[in-house]
Symmetry: D3
Subunit: 282 residues, 6 copies
Amino acid sequence: MNKNIHTFIGCDNSYEDSRIVIFGAPFDSTTSFRPGTRFASAAIRNESFGIETYSPYQDKDLLDYNIFDAGDLELPFGNPERALHDIEAFVSEILKAEKVPFMIGGEHLVTLGAVRAVAKKYEDLHIIHFDAHADLRDDYLGVTLSHATVLRRCHEIVGDNRIFQFGIRSGEREEFLWGKEHVTTCKFNFASLDEIVKQLAGKPVYFTLDLDVLDPSVFPGTGTPEAGGVTFVELMEAVSKLSALNIVGLDMNELSPVYDQTGASTALACKSLREILLYINQ
Amino acid sequence: MNKNIHTFIGCDNSYEDSRIVIFGAPFDSTTSFRPGTRFASAAIRNESFGIETYSPYQDKDLLDYNIFDAGDLELPFGNPERALHDIEAFVSEILKAEKVPFMIGGEHLVTLGAVRAVAKKYEDLHIIHFDAHADLRDDYLGVTLSHATVLRRCHEIVGDNRIFQFGIRSGEREEFLWGKEHVTTCKFNFASLDEIVKQLAGKPVYFTLDLDVLDPSVFPGTGTPEAGGVTFVELMEAVSKLSALNIVGLDMNELSPVYDQTGASTALACKSLREILLYINQ
Amino acid sequence: MNKNIHTFIGCDNSYEDSRIVIFGAPFDSTTSFRPGTRFASAAIRNESFGIETYSPYQDKDLLDYNIFDAGDLELPFGNPERALHDIEAFVSEILKAEKVPFMIGGEHLVTLGAVRAVAKKYEDLHIIHFDAHADLRDDYLGVTLSHATVLRRCHEIVGDNRIFQFGIRSGEREEFLWGKEHVTTCKFNFASLDEIVKQLAGKPVYFTLDLDVLDPSVFPGTGTPEAGGVTFVELMEAVSKLSALNIVGLDMNELSPVYDQTGASTALACKSLREILLYINQ
Amino acid sequence: MNKNIHTFIGCDNSYEDSRIVIFGAPFDSTTSFRPGTRFASAAIRNESFGIETYSPYQDKDLLDYNIFDAGDLELPFGNPERALHDIEAFVSEILKAEKVPFMIGGEHLVTLGAVRAVAKKYEDLHIIHFDAHADLRDDYLGVTLSHATVLRRCHEIVGDNRIFQFGIRSGEREEFLWGKEHVTTCKFNFASLDEIVKQLAGKPVYFTLDLDVLDPSVFPGTGTPEAGGVTFVELMEAVSKLSALNIVGLDMNELSPVYDQTGASTALACKSLREILLYINQ
Amino acid sequence: MNKNIHTFIGCDNSYEDSRIVIFGAPFDSTTSFRPGTRFASAAIRNESFGIETYSPYQDKDLLDYNIFDAGDLELPFGNPERALHDIEAFVSEILKAEKVPFMIGGEHLVTLGAVRAVAKKYEDLHIIHFDAHADLRDDYLGVTLSHATVLRRCHEIVGDNRIFQFGIRSGEREEFLWGKEHVTTCKFNFASLDEIVKQLAGKPVYFTLDLDVLDPSVFPGTGTPEAGGVTFVELMEAVSKLSALNIVGLDMNELSPVYDQTGASTALACKSLREILLYINQ
Amino acid sequence: MNKNIHTFIGCDNSYEDSRIVIFGAPFDSTTSFRPGTRFASAAIRNESFGIETYSPYQDKDLLDYNIFDAGDLELPFGNPERALHDIEAFVSEILKAEKVPFMIGGEHLVTLGAVRAVAKKYEDLHIIHFDAHADLRDDYLGVTLSHATVLRRCHEIVGDNRIFQFGIRSGEREEFLWGKEHVTTCKFNFASLDEIVKQLAGKPVYFTLDLDVLDPSVFPGTGTPEAGGVTFVELMEAVSKLSALNIVGLDMNELSPVYDQTGASTALACKSLREILLYINQ
């Protein structure tokens, strides 16, 4: 008898054969408002068996691709620096094997660990950032490593004009003022995405998707519901455009399964994961 | 038939005077993912007293029509074949009295019982099917009578080119491949509905509405939340077009009240039931 | 007036300096369907610290304005007439100081207390009413002071052609028939709002916002979920137009926090409150 | 009286044949803390089909007795005096037919309506009161008809030394001080019940059971959870002793089904109702 | 990199080395009242990482024993006979390897599959049954394979005086009457357990634990909450006595995780599983 | 110190007049399993208005004592060391004014901040610890400042034989082994409390109450539900015995209000807080 193996649906290929490596980063201890994102990756694996491997949107099937699900990292609660270090090490190992890391957060801070690793390998790294929040504070309640500062920290690594934000509809005045000087922000929607995609053709891109870019009506399972977000169809259209880019690493974060007891948010995350996997496997 | 004193609001007319007969089919034991639809008809009756009998959309009032609510069938849990048999017998009785049966599921499998009865009376029966899922599998985990196979079973009764699906956004690759040969599928929305309605003018039509065709944001009370669905207004527009058809039987299914503790899904089902009753009473 | 230390975010100015005075009217004992609105004002204050004071929509910040939050009135449960009397007295005091009262309900009946006070000061008062329900019944289960009769009672104060309703999508036939003679009703949306705003230029206007004008998908936290409502963006566009008017009093009501355990409804109410405060502070 | 087809399990006998008449009094608009008891009687009927008619405790079966379930009264929200009047009229009718009224609340205030009727028929009426709260205030927030004053109002009808309270573990100091002079209070448990039952032998007794006398662990479905209550077994032992008395009317109140989404509180209420019916049918 | 393996905490030994084999039987389609037990085994694995492997009750640690967790069977929804067949086959395989099967239900019907296999190997099989419900009906709504008939079906296999029930507090009159002739029933508690354990010394025993034997206050996560049950400490004391027996197979069933959103029921099931594993590993 | 207008009921005295100072320490970022304790102090204040100031258990009333509620500390998420520093500073200030600090957590780690301050003032400090968990690990996932290590850290301050634990029913084997050498542990209950209280007569004692010492049935609102705990009455009896001691500081922690949507856990915490305040104000 074999041991019980637990993966995202259709992602049970061997590590060697796979170009994409999924893993969970269940960390949420800096979350300010309502925690719970640490349960996201486990919930996504469990619920993935409620969706199909086939996408009628793309007429493609996960079963036709090789994807490895490495399970979850064991991250120390209450120690963001060490958690980021562990994430960076794991992503570096994946990159060394010439594979694409796809991290499932956790809170948004986990992105920093991955970006540190990816930026070491790819000198001219650009970041595409879908989110409701600017995440550009310099510190948050005196803490510099936080979900609310994560893109500011990423900016310290990749520099000016390398970060492109979409869907942003919340932040302090100072974040928007600072942002005007250092990053490109498309407020509320994806209006300028076509243009940015053209501009980034051929360059290495890290894609970070904070699922709260979605309207809370379609994605209530998040600690910071922010009215006025995009629809699922709008998000998928935007994601489809990213398939033209050279995505060298990516993440999806901020699902808090326990905040949506209907299960709709987790189901949406599963479907989004399937669609993104199929888009970047062009 | 005796009156069920506990009726849907405004549907307390006598059986003899009524052209439409509502009844509940509280059966859900083949549901794969998350059961609970067996509570739908009771919840709809209870909550119907929170809505009005008057529709400002149509400027019509349920009080001006004769509708009979026959209560719920007592169906055996764990015995799909017998449950379908009981449904078929009950629908046949309604049809014999020259009335239109309107069944409240239950899981989608209950449709098969009704279609068996309706197809016996109407030789050239067509089916209009609103759903998120194709429901065209030949079997599901080795079981042939299942919510996931129900339209495939209906096809065995009505034959090729008699089933018209709308809003479908989930299914296995095989279902879509098979569907291309045998049924007409309009993916994601109602784009081709006008044309189909013209085509079916005068023909007997059974209408089956799986409420999960709606987006989970407007209808979270379902066991299989599938992102990317239609809005309530889009659904009502589509339903309004059906009033041009000769609807000889219909059902509404897959509400799971317990999965939406806000009550919004049940309230929507009540309102949809009122609107559909008024549209088909043209 | 003494300060309530526990305020809505950014509304901790002194009474003397403030042009707008927020207060809670936690009353819901006539609510027919599912009570809970009495918890709204406390929830809004608590959760307001989860949003920012800055609006990226208007590029304005609450910190640049003086607003006083007077806390909640203590209202007797089960005694609507006395509750309305206490609300009227409190609003009169605010008006005497030449300030604008902004009441947070509570069920919609609380509007009557405020309108009584405002109509005494402003002779030619007009009312703009956003709601899913007409609220024009003469009585409800034999009771004349009820959330379902509140605009009818307001009509007795301000008279014919002074009430303008938007977004209405539910009511008895009689309410709509009566309404045609006495008030202006824009069903389902804000189509005629531009025109009405022009018409009311310079006149004193009371604005009452029943949050259930929103679709239950974006605002499930209400006792009477009514499908087919407006989106948050549509509501904000409508509200922005009101900034051209002379708003002399206003309220926001019918949030029932406990019915939306995701917190999204309360968060939306907080954000709406911020946006309205910034729009009327032009 | 007409039959209500939707009855408590096993209580579908005719009015004429029945000695006990169950009815619902779905009223809760004076509830101070968290409303919801108006849904109790409907929930109890619905869920009663999840229990058996047979009691292994008493080796008796509801099917061997004649009990009539009259359905729910339609009571006006927001008008306690009229609601009490309607209850009194209905109870008087039952008493005139020499039957025993068994009312399902609703909030505890409904007891006053029944006691008014019962005290008119039985001169020397005594009241046995199981509750967590003394309910002996003279007024509550200036209101005299309230769940918090109901036993004080009953005392005005039956006079000194006629009320016997058990399980009381919450109240203002003034209530306990007043109570020492006018009623008999057994704090926390049923220690003195045997003695009181002896004392009341042969006298007419009204029994009012506020289910929050139970510990919130076994009965969380209540608006005022008060730690330190009795267990289900202790309650049933106490109830069994009442079978020695001449119970001429009774009620069970303060279940708020929506506050216990596990359903355990409603199920307990159903089981308690069955057991009480069997005990008083000695 | 290794694939993600998912077991109950401390049960990640190899099949060969293990004397006990845990597996999940996620089947619930005959459940009459409220389904959901099919999610139990997955929830127990997930949440097991919130408890310790060490028991301060027994001063023993799961890490000192070899236990294999085989994951979940894939069982066909809506086909009880086939599901039972698959369970029987799997249990037979475990028994052939001279190991002890420990099944995690699922609804109680799954016990029948295991008992069929165990009774084939052990001629003189006895069954110890902890439950709130007698489960002795001959049929339930016309269905013979049901959670409500499962011990009656087991009786057909093992015969008279082989089944010993404890904690039973619900059932139809007919079940108790039939039971008196054919099985031994200890109502409400474990009063006669010591004696029965002595009597069964040395004989092969199957132990089936329906967790609803517990009071709903400590175990609300079940579809049929039945007040008046045993405490966790009482259950553990009873289980400790079973360590004197020759347990050749066992199961734990009827956890419905979704009905207890506090997670306490699942946590209790995890802790019970640990304690039982340690007791039977004497 | 300035008054926090939003206080626990009956605790609105001036700082100067008060012997006891309540304050909240809303910190939970090292919580391993399910966070949420940071919302405890706010919830306790809000819900305290649902209980009375009078205790029928002690026949005492909070209104007869002077207690100051200082509101909540603002603690940095994700920075345990700084949070502990801020707590220590605040407690030191209270102690310097010769008052008794009563901290409302937050997760259990906050105790360390208070103990650091108290141990500086009282040389021979003893600690009484009620808890389900030993909390004696040396580190937890590599982190030394954690809710799971807090009593180990306290031991480093107060030394051997100064810590007395009660109700412990969970921990790793190593914790219990280490504990035998350095602390006194009473497993499962309060059996040895009388004796310990005698032993500590006259000595300065810090009392830390982890509310999860209670059984999850009476206190489900916690992130780590551990079956087999004490009842509310048992806890109150134990607390009453502490009134004989010289309590120089205390805390109550680990309430997670969002995990118990019935509100019973928060209500129990409010009642416990009232009772403890009255016991230590002998």
